[in-house]
């Protein structure tokens, strides 16, 4: 029972971590809390759905419920979501930045964008739930007494690969180093000749791509609905705050803590109260350790 809850929690936690990493990147580099981030999850999930449908069913790769089309669709949807994020920035956030608006004005605008994106998804794809495939799957026993669907194992492995390659990208690539420099000090990095506009575009692209992957994974594990992203928003934000916004592995641990807390809570309280768990965690963190688990101190 506990083992199963742990496995479910790690799966949810991994997906939340992908969302939280993208969110933390934008907080660190763009210096505002982007509440529209969760909507990129929905946008990515639906884009992948439509693209996969356009590419035709394809044959499912044996134990999985989906075939190559969905994998290709996810990659294209990831890039497309990144481009949409850049577009939103060009249309709204960059103009506010140019006017030197307060950070909270950008937060405000991000709420407006969230409302627009969420309801555009609803208008375009309708209110009903969608699925990537109709294949029925049989859970496999990955550990004694712990069963997971093959899709879920796939999602978990891919999540780990994504986090590792992102870490590698941020540590070694030129763009990654520029991003970290700008997170530390925008003024200094500009003085060092870093093209800040291009770093900002990269940030949106990465955040959008990660969000789209998280959206597709969430769609694979549950179902695709217009509220998919919005319903995960609080958990994603909590994971990011818990990890100390900006720290990649912090966001991963934050995601895992939230995912595990959610799935373990069901053992104690009725499942209908599960969505309140992130908020409880958030309040505890804000009272006890507001700088997050992995940040030294820094009170701005």
């Amino acid at each position: 029972m506990i083992g199963q809850a742990l496995a479910d929690g790690i799966l949810t936690g991994g997906i939340l971590a992908l969302g939280a990493i993208g969110y933390s990147l934008s907080v660190k580099i763009l210096k505002f809390a982007n509440f529209a981030h969760a909507e990129f999850l929905s946008v990515g999930a639906y884009l992948a759905l439509t693209l996969a449908a356009l590419m035709g069913a394809g044959t499912p790769i044996d134990p999985l419920s989906f075939g190559l089309p969905l994998i290709a669709a996810t990659i294209i949807a990831g890039v497309a979501t990144g481009v949409i994020a850049i577009l939103v920035d060009t249309l709204v956030f960059s103009r506010l930045r140019a006017r030197r608006a307060a950070a909270l004005t950008l937060v405000f605008a991000s709420f407006g964008m969230a409302l627009i994106l969420r309801n555009l998804v609803l208008l375009l794809w309708g209110p009903n739930a969608h699925y990537y495939g109709q294949e029925l799957q049989i859970a496999i026993e990955v550990l004694p007494d712990v069963r997971m669907l093959p899709d879920h194992v796939f999602v978990l492995v891919l999540t780990i690969l994504l986090v590792l390659s992102l870490h590698f990208f941020l540590q070694t690539s030129r763009v990654g180093v520029a991003m970290r420099a700008m997170a530390d000090s925008p003024a200094l990095s500009q003085a060092c000749g870093i093209d800040t506009a291009s770093v900002i575009r990269w940030t949106w692209l990465l955040a959008g791509m990660l969000a789209a992957c998280a959206g597709v994974f969430a769609g694979l594990t549950v179902q695709i609905r217009p509220e998919l992203g919005f319903n995960m928003l609080l958990a994603v934000l909590t994971a990011a705050v818990l990890g100390g916004a900006g720290n990649l592995f912090g966001a991963v641990v934050g995601g895992l803590v939230v995912g595990l807390a959610e799935s373990l809570s069901v053992l104690i309280i009725p499942a209908s109260f599960k969505p309140a768990i992130p908020f409880l965690l958030l309040l505890i963190v804000l009272y006890v350790r507001p700088q997050g688990l992995f940040t030294k101190s820094v009170r701005a």
Binding site: V92, F108, G112, F279
Partner: protein, 314 residues
Amino acid sequence: MIGVLSYFVFFCSVALILAIVVLGLNLQWGNTGLFNAGIAGFYAIGAYGFAILTAAPRADLIGNFGLPWIVGVAGAMAASAFIALVIGIATLRLRDDYLAIATFGIAATIQLLALNLDPLTGGAMGISSLPNPFRGLFPASILNNLCYLALIVALVFVVYAGLQRIVASPWGRVLKAIREDEIAARTLGKNIDMFRLQAFVLGAMLMGLGGALYVSFIGFVSPADFMPILTFQVWTMLIIGGSGNNKGAILGAVVVWGLWSLIGAVTVQFLPPHFQIYGGATQAVLIGLILVLTLLLRPRGLIGERTTASRHAT
């Protein structure tokens, strides 16, 4: 004729109740720069606080004490104030966006509790037969509603006058100083955390008052009235009216509620029934667009804040 008049009374009542909520937000955001992302939550706390205190006793529910109207309203404001205090103490000394995240969380959690904590809130069914001081006073219900509207108008006036007074007072000037330059205000020896907490709690109390007035007006409370969209509506009202200006807050409430009702009526009229769900989504997209475009193109809103300078400035 009676139909038009009773719709007008209904419209004005809701718009002016929302105006009280917008005035509360104006104190938090317009005057102090505190970002409250959970307006629907504080409104719901007021509404449920009022319902639990005043509804006639029912065997299957805890609460429902059948207390007088005025006790319900006071209790609603106290409950909102208490939750605001808990959230405020946790977040107001932190970076600005933590308040946004925490208030967003409280609104989502309150909605969840309203829906699932059946013994206290009545679950999805809610609680009905809530008292209204004027119900049954006259045989014609429109006269009763007119009396209630008069009460709301009086309350809006009291809240407006009170806010105008305190915003102009030294206390209000400190709030503006905090909004404009936190470090400068701190350097002048002001305990800015305390000032922000006071403004936040006071604003949340007004939101709770709005919630109580609303459910007392419609006579029942149910989770459907406290969807996240309410938070967006109230923001749009303040941004359109002009944040930092109490008259703007009231004007924004009436204008945006009018627009919202109009778009709603048009979609009901012209959309086939199975497209009605899209009507709500269209309304939401428009509200979002108005919000973002106002921030981009006319950040001052319709009226905007009056620039004030010290009498001693040259």
